[in-house]
Amino acid sequence: MPVFDFFHWDKGRGYTLAETGAILQVTIGIPPALEQLCLRDSIPIPSPVSGYALIDTGASASAVHEQIFIDFGVQPIDHIAMSTPHTRDKFSFVYPAKIQFPGLNLSGDAMWPWMRVVGCELKWTTFDNKEIIMLVGRDVLKWFLMVYNGVHSDVTLTY
């Protein structure tokens, strides 16, 4: 059972997990089928975007900063209803994406070479300039055992 440990610590501040939340590095790219299309048509493949993903147990599905897909030229493939006490009868687009977590070297490649994610305006930067571009929701977390160790500023993921 592979175990992946994410220690949240900063040289100046010490433990940071309570401040930043549980974050891990993420790389977002266009889906493999679109890469093949670009190769076939000799179109440059957009470079993947790297940043950080915040683990969000309150989210039913994973979400990605929508502008990334707009910049990629990736079209949405679906609409999804947003349900919160303050958002009713509203929708957001669903996009296909290739998601890689460099810290989760699960197979040497990607665990999610193809994934449906919700497009949202969610980009922000932590105090130590880590750019959050994704929320990891329960659609991903359902595959893991997660330990949130607040005392030692540490998050452990295993599957």
Partner: protein, 82 residues
């Protein structure tokens, strides 16, 4: 709005699709129902092969529509484009 025609087509065919392809993913482009696929990934691959970078719909065929629930949205920590 992207996918407007496809979403209207899906709604018009939903009852029929639920009888024949429950749980599968429908691939639709403009006013054409291309087919039903076991996974969203397979439907997407077929869509890219057939329609390239043009918009197309890949939607799960289910009675209850998919809903994205997020408490952060409720708290105003993030926003969705609507």
């Amino acid at each position: 709005m992207p996918l407007e025609k496809e979403l209207a087509l899906f709604e018009s065919k939903k009852d029929e699709l639920l009888k024949v392809h429950p749980g599968k993913f429908a691939l639709m482009h403009e006013e054409e129902f291309v087919g039903a696929f076991d996974t969203a990934e397979n439907a997407y691959e077929a869509g890219v092969l057939k329609f390239g970078k043009s918009p197309f719909l890949v939607k799960k065929i289910s009675q209850e529509p998919e809903v994205y629930r997020n408490q952060a949205l409720a708290l105003g920590l993030m926003n969705a484009r609507i």
